[in-house]
Each structure stands twice: as structure tokens, then as C-alpha cells.
């Protein structure tokens, strides 16, 4: 099943955009900034551009090798495997959190009486099915879905035109820049930095030039939609965005055009499903791929179901309320994730460069 997939640059774009929108559509990014959350998003994205450059450099340095292969090359078989296992733990936690977030959302606004475990099982199993079918199917799916998500975000914003109050944005500049930077940091790690998982997938999709083009524009589309949503939420809900659990959902509930076009929140929750599904599937896929590569297996297909069982358990047990979840996302997760998104990548890069230098010198000695 592996090897070169016929995935186009546009599909890479869609995949990245959907991945970034994934769970971040659900929560309001930079919520703690209230009316300045858009500044947090922009700060996070600017910081991400540095990360992007780093990832691009790594891709170009050793084309045709995955993140796991690079780690082994940089640190040797022993230490490399340890680091790779750390990465797998990170992917696993990320996957459980994504699944957990979605189940929490469905359980608190749509299917209240349904037992949580049931939703977790179905969400994970559908993701498992897609993973079994391979990356190509996920990429094709996201190509269609990114269009849906993008259009809905814009249309819904237009439908809210009469609820928009631009004075909510004042004052434009925050008093507390430290909080903006702090919030920008957590936005860097969630969702932008999470694209680090694509480093373990990209080598299958083609040359670094083609892939990183999709990567870059995908993240631009992602940040654009996030900004539109953040600005709309602030304009509609004002300072209440700070206190709402799902601000986007809350603002869309207010759509009321002549008592005729109302209750559009269903569309939005459908969007959440799409984006969250793509995100869960992508993380899931790279988790399986990583396991396969580390343990030198031939295929990963037989790993899919056992992992599903673990994910279901972990997602079910990790958070009891969605507020706890948000707390984790802001207070704990960034410091945990930055190790994998920046520090280890940087270490790998430096080691590879040193080894390259040494390797180049050796013949001359």
C-alpha cells in the first residue's frame, strides 16, 4: 500500500487546511484574549512561519525520508528509536485529545443523552476505516470537505451581518502584550505546530518543492478561515467570547433572517465533524505509519484496530468536562507539544547538519 501516492499538490493543501481547522474550529483560539484573539492568531501564525521554514529545510535536506527515518539517521538506531517512541506517544495523546474533544462537543450540544463511549467508538472506528484505506482516500476526502468548510464559514459570516457590532473591536491594541504572546505561543502549538506530524507522511507524496507549496498555502487557507471565524465571533458576541465554551456555535445560533433562516448551527456542527474527522484520521495514519517504520513491519493494516481500542479508552478517560479540556489545551499542552514541534526537530536538524559536514570532510582526510 505504501510508496508514491498519486496525491496532488492541491490535495496536500486541502489536507493541511483541514488539519489546521480540525479542532480549532470548535474552540475559539486565543479565547483568553477576548476581543484581541485575532491578534493571538496572527502572532501564532507568524511564529509558525519560522517552524514552517524549519520543516521545509528538513524536508529538503533529506528528501524521501520520514521524520522517523531522519531521527534514526541523526541519533543512531538506539537513541533514534527512543525519540521516535516519544513522538509516537505524542501522536497518540494528540489523537486521543482530538477524538475526546469531538465526543465532548457532540455530547454537550447535540446528543446529550447518548453515552459518551458509544460516540467515541463510532468516531474512532470510522477513522480506523479510513486509515486502513490509506492516505489517498483521506486526501481526496479533504479536498471536497475543505471546500464545504470554507464556503460555510464565509456564508455563515455573511448571514450574521445584522448582528455584527464593530465597536466590539475597540480598543484595537491590547494593554497586556505579554498575554498576547503567551496566547500566540499556545496557538503556535495548537493548531499550527501540530502539522509536524505531516513530516512523517510527506515523504510519500512527492518532492519537497511540491509538498511544501501545498503545505504553505494550506496553512494560509487555514489561518484565513480561523481569522474570519475569530473576527466574526468577536463582532457578534463581544466580550462574551471569553466565557463561552463553543463561541462559534453560540454566534451561529443567533442567525435569524426574518425568522426564516434560523438554526444554522447544524451546518456548523457538520463542519466540525468534517474537519475533526480529517484531523483525527491524519494523526491516526501517521501513528500507524510510525509504528510500522520503527518496528520494521511490512504493513500497518493489522495495527489499526488495536490502536483504535487504545484510543477509545484514552479518549474516554482523559477529560471529564470540556472546560478541563480547554484548560489542558492552554496551560499544559503547549509546553508538552513544543518539545516535539520545535526542540526535537531542531536537534535532529543540527545533528544531521553536523553529520553531513563530518561526512563531507572525511574523504578528504
Amino acid at each position: 500500500m505504501e510508496g508514491k501516492y498519486p496525491v496532488s499538490s492541491r490535495q496536500v493543501l486541502a489536507l493541511i487546511a483541514m488539519f489546521i481547522l480540525g479542532t480549532s474550529l470548535l474552540f475559539s483560539l486565543g479565547q483568553e484574549l477576548g476581543r484581541h484573539s485575532w491578534l493571538g492568531i496572527i502572532t501564532g501564525f507568524i511564529a509558525f512561519l519560522f517552524l514552517f521554514w524549519l520543516y521545509y529545510f528538513l524536508l529538503k535536506l533529506e528528501p524521501g525520508k520520514s521524520l522517523f527515518g531522519l531521527n534514526e539517521q541523526a541519533f543512531g538506531r538506539g537513541l533514534g528509536t527512543v525519540i521516535n517512541l516519544w513522538y509516537l506517544i505524542y501522536f497518540f495523546v494528540l489523537l486521543s485529545v482530538v477524538v475526546g474533544n469531538f465526543v465532548d462537543f457532540i455530547n454537550s450540544v447535540i446528543l446529550i443523552q447518548t453515552p459518551e463511549i458509544l460516540l467515541t467508538i463510532f468516531l474512532t472506528l470510522t477513522a480506523a476505516y479510513a486509515v486502513k484505506k490509506g492516505l489517498e482516500s483521506i486526501a481526496r476526502l479533504s479536498e471536497i470537505m475543505v471546500f464545504c468548510v470554507f464556503t460555510t464559514a464565509i456564508v455563515v459570516t455573511l448571514l450574521l451581518f445584522d448582528k455584527i457590532d464593530t465597536t466590539n473591536f475597540w480598543p484595537l491594541w491590547p494593554q497586556n502584550w505579554a498575554l498576547v504572546l503567551r496566547s500566540g505561543f499556545s496557538i503556535l502549538t495548537f493548531p499550527f505546530g501540530e502539522t509536524v506530524i505531516f513530516l512523517s507522511i510527506f515523504y510519500q507524496l512527492g518532492g519537497p518543492q511540491k509538498v511544501s507549496k501545498g503545505f504553505f498555502w494550506g496553512s494560509v487557507v487555514g489561518v484565513f478561515v480561523l481569522l474570519v471565524i475569530a473576527l466574526r465571533n468577536i463582532a457578534v458576541l463581544g466580550e462574551f467570547v471569553k466565557f463561552s465554551t463553543y463561541p462559534a456555535y453560540d454566534s451561529v445560533r443567533l442567525i435569524n433572517i426574518a425568522r426564516f433562516i434560523t438554526r444554522a448551527e447544524v451546518v456548523i456542527s457538520l463542519n466540525y465533524m468534517f474537519a475533526g474527522y480529517v484531523k483525527a484520521t491524519t494523526v491516526y495514519y501517521s501513528l500507524c505509519l510510525g509504528l510500522k517504520e520503527i518496528f520494521r513491519l511490512k504493513t500497518y493494516q493489522h495495527l489499526v484496530l488495536p490502536i483504535a481500542a487504545l484510543v477509545i479508552l484514552n479518549a474516554h478517560l482523559s477529560f471529564s468536562t470540556n472546560v478541563q479540556n480547554v484548560f489542558f489545551a492552554f496551560e499544559v499542552y503547549p509546553f508538552f507539544a513544543i518539545i516535539f514541534q520545535l526542540i526535537l526537530i531542531l536537534a535532529t536538524l543540527i545533528m544531521l547538519l553536523i553529520k553531513k559536514q563530518l561526512g563531507r570532510r572525511r574523504p578528504t582526510i
Partner: protein, 373 residues
Amino acid sequence: MKKFNLLLMATLLLATSCYDRREINHLEIVAGIGFDLSNDNQIEVSFQILNAGALGKNASGGLEPYWILQSKGKTTFDAIRKATYTSPNKLFFSHNQVIIISEDLAKQGIRGIMDLWLRDEEPREDTKMTICEGKAIDILKTKLPHGLIPAYEIVNMIEASIVAAYAPIITPIDHRRLTAANIPCTVFGKIVKTSETELEYKGGALVKDDKLVDYLTETETRGYLWLKCKIKDGLIIAKTKDSNIVITLEIIRAKSGFKPVLTKNGQLTFRARADITGRLGEFEDSKSIVDPTAWPGFIEALQETVKEEMRAAIAKATYNNLDFLGLNDSVRKYLPKTFKQLASSWEEIMPLIPFTFEINIQIIGVGMVKKSF
């Protein structure tokens, strides 16, 4: 294997997710809710519930189109759930149109109601809310001469109030938005039962934090609406000073509001402004009007009326330290530096901040009559 999979999928289609579905005949659809304070200090809720059997084309005659249910409990949610003691089915709130809170309860505090309305996923955040004089259940029991369901008529009445612009329209999400912006007072609309078959929606009720503290007169409410740019329609009635002619101006378009500014010598002032475009609606003088603006004191009289209304609201807001206009918030928005300096002594300074007014009235027509008799 493939066949088995297909079979599995087909079975899944049969087992779609309606296991906790709620059919319409097992729902009691609530059209309006009233909250009262019971004699033993509990929350008493009255529901106006649609009577599905009496609505629709082949309705059986003789049935009332709605019925009223009452229950009480320690908290709002408790009271609502206890409705099932007497109701045949569980109540359904997504189609609730209006929330009426009685004076007594509002004086005790409405935090529970406001919280429940946003925390629970079933009720809508954009339901209209009002505070009533007397008991809320009496309002719901009013037999209005028009319409089938009083709650729907009340909502229509609230929405129609835009035309006269004498009362604000508030929903739970509006209230939450204001409180989130640290505006201490919210102006709710006020509904009064004037007779057995008549309700009146005008004026405002001031809720500070979560308690009703005062009522606004008509003029004060109007001033509030001007300063908050909520008047889009309505009339301005004025009397010219010298000639004592009563003029009625019909508002076609209006844009109004206020903004804090720092004058050159560093004095904080509020600049209230209104740009009104209107049409002569009524004119009680027999002379023909060619150009209304040329009449002595014509525009001035109208401006004076608007100013008076604004002044009334400002006086109320600053004198009792009930900042329902959001003066504090506007300083925070537009002059963040000044806000920081004044934050500690704001309450003493607020009544002293001067207001300047700029009312522009443009008259674009005199109607279909050239000359009155």
C-alpha cells in the same frame, strides 16, 4: 467477507440513531415562560404551552389553543423540571418565544435564569426578555383580542415596538454581552397589563448586576435608545418656542450615539450626536410650508426635544451611578489611557463629565399636502 460487510452496512441503515427521539405528540411545546416569586420565596414558573389538538386545519372545536401550567422549585431548573409533576409530557423549550420576569423576582435577582438560558443547550439565546409589573402569570393569562397564542402576540408587540421606539428589545445573549463588557446595568423592556385584554410594552426596567433597581420613564428610555443608536423609526414631537406650533416629525433614518473625547486642555467630555433624516408628519398651522427649515425655531425645537430626551437618560445614568449607557465601557474602548487613569475614581468623576450635543436634523419632505386648513 465482502458480502458480510455489505450485510453489516445494510443492518446499520436499519438501526439509525432515533432511539431517544421525541415525537411531536409527546412534547409540550412551550411558547412563553413567566417567572414569579412564590409566597414561600421559591421560583414559580408559568408556561404557556401550545395545545397541538386545537391548532391546525382539522382542529377539534372548543379547545383552547394553549394552556397554562405552573410549577415551583428552589432553582429555576428545578422549577422547570417539576413541571412534569402536572404536565403529561416533558416540556420542550427550543420554540419558546418570550421570557417574562416579574418585578418581585427581578428584585431578588435573575442570575439563575440568565445562567440557565445560556448554559443549557435547548433554550435559544435570542429569546425576547421583558420585566413585568405585577405577576408574570397574569401577563401570560391575558386574553388578547387578536391572535391565537398570546406569547406569539407579545413577541410581535415587542418587535413592533421598534416603530414607536419607546422600549428596548433585550435577549439573554444581549444581557450577557453587556455584562461581559462590564456594563453594570442593563435596560430591559417593561410590559404592563393595563386591562383584562390589553398589554402595554413601553419604558424600561433597570437591572443592576442581576437585580431590578429602578424603572426608566418613557423619556429616559427614549434617551437611552438615542444614545445607543437603537432608534431607526418613530416620531419626534416638538413645540416651537415663539409660535407654539406643534410639529411631528417622522423619522426615516437615524444614526446616533456618543463617544468620549479629550478636549485640548485634557478634559474628558462625551460628545453625543444624532443625525436624523425625517419627514414632516403633522403640522398644526394653517400657513403653507415651502421650506420647513426656514420656519423660525422649527429645527431648533426638534433638536431641543432630542436633547431633552438624551439629557434625561444621562441624568439618570450618572446621578444614581447606574451606568446603563456604558459610559465607562466607552472610555475603555476609545480612550484606554484615560480609562486607566480614571479607573479608581470613576464613580466620583462620572457625574461631573460634561456632555456636548450635536443634533443634525434633515427634513426631506413635507408630505402630500401643501397647506393645512
